[in-house]
Structures are given as C-alpha cells and as structure tokens.
Symmetry: C2
Subunit: 143 residues, 2 copies
C-alpha cells in the first residue's frame, strides 16, 4: 500500500475515523474511533468512553472475531463541497490485548490525544488494522 | 423504531452521515453521505460528487444489491469528549431509480442542501434506508 505524502498528512491530521465491520451474517456496523497511524498500521483503543453506557463498543470486537475484514474512512465534510475529501482504507483487523505493540500503541495514542493520558488504556484491547488497499478521493483536485 | 425527540433533532441537524454496507463476501465498506430523514426513512442520493473520479460511489449500490443490510452512523466529534455523541441506525437499504418517493426525496434534499439545487438528481439513484433499530449514545448524559 503506497499512500502519497499528502494522503498520509490528511490521515495523520484527522482526529476521528469511522470503522466499519460486519458480523458473520454480513450485518454491517460502523462506529467513530480515535486512532493513530504507525507506519502502515492503524491502531485504535477500546477506551473508557463506552463505560457510561452498556459496552456497545464490544460489538466491533465480536465482529472482528467473526470476520476480520474492515473498512476505515477518514473524511472531511465542509459546506463548500469543493473541500470534501476522504481516504478509504480496506484491510483486516486483529485485537491486541497486551505486548510490545499494545504498549507502543498506547504511547502513540497518548501523544496524539491528551485525553488518553488519564485513562487506563493498558488493560484495554487495541484494534490493529493492517491495510490492504486505500482509495483517496477529493471533490476538487485543488484540495 | 421509537426515537426520542432529542435524537431526532440530532439526526435532522447533521449534515453528513456514514453509511456502512458489506458485499456478499462480508467485506465492509463505509462512505460519507448526505441524507434527509423523512418520517422513519432515511434517503440519500448518488449525487454528482463522484463524477470527478471513477464512480466509486457505485460500490455502495453493488453492495446493497448483494446484501441489503446496512448500518448508518450520525455522530459528533469534539475535543471535549464530554460532548461526544452518536446515533447508530441498523436497517436495510433499497435503491430507488424513479417514482413518487424518488421525486419527494429530491425535494427534501434540495431543501436541506442548497448545493443540490443545481445538480440533476432526477436521473440519479436514491438510496432508501428503512431502519429496524437505532442506538443512541452520549459520553455525558448532560449533552
């Protein structure tokens, strides 16, 4: 997967992405996620946000267990549609529970999101996405 | 499907949603869409935006043809995570090519998005989503 420098900058700058999974019966699911790009991988925590309510965040974990195929979208919406843009990543996901990569992901996430510095991410799963291809699109080529 | 007045207001106010589909092999796909809520249905056009590039927008139509199950997310991201919120709609999608509902959808879309007033939506498909259930979530109950 080769992304242009411009696309990588767009992905790195995004604060939120949308992760689509599907269960074994082909029912899609989509959720906003926080993430970091680390080389060619994308890492996203199951954080404390869902604790306020029943753990719906776990649906994505169940889906990944049944079917590791995912799609991840990073996009920009503006009322001036000439500024619309997105990057769609197709790949597979795996759940990390501990280990070096898990630890490294937490460091990167805390660097990007100060909000995570006070959350106990160590004990929480990290979703590791391995992209197989990416498509980038912009309404206007100038943007 | 019963949505609270607050949830309906949140969905109506949103300018963009994220539509997840999956193909017959369970590969998810997700794309930003413009939409209107009409009673219990959600309507979204295949508009002229993708014309600038090869018609990737058609992937969602192919997926719906293979598998009508969809998920649609309307969410709000803010750096103050107490303001995070989303509504996740699970349902099925159908593609409308013409007819009364198609015509009505175009009128509603043009009312919501002035950008559509100069686009020839009449000749383009409309995706009609029939929700079967919806889940709403907010990080903070106060928001």
């Amino acid at each position: 997967m080769r992304l242009s420098r411009k696309v990588v900058a767009f992905v790195r700058a995004a604060r939120v992405a949308h992760l689509a999974t599907a269960d074994g019966a082909g029912q899609p699911h989509v959720i906003p996620i926080c993430f970091v790009l680390d080389g060619e991988e994308i890492l996203s925590p199951i954080d404390e946000k869902p604790k306020q309510n029943p753990p719906r965040g776990l649906k994505r974990l169940r889906n990944i267990g049944e079917n590791p195929k995912i799609a991840l979208l990073i996009d920009r919406y503006e009322e001036d549609w000439r500024k619309l843009a997105y990057v769609l990543v197709i790949g597979t996901a795996k759940v990390l529970l501990r280990g070096k990569r898990h630890e490294r992901a937490i460091g990167l996430l805390r660097r990007k999101y100060p909000q995570y510095r006070s959350m106990a991410l160590q004990k929480r799963p990290i979703i590791r996405i391995s992209p197989t291809r990416a498509v980038s699109w912009a309404f206007s080529k100038a943007n």
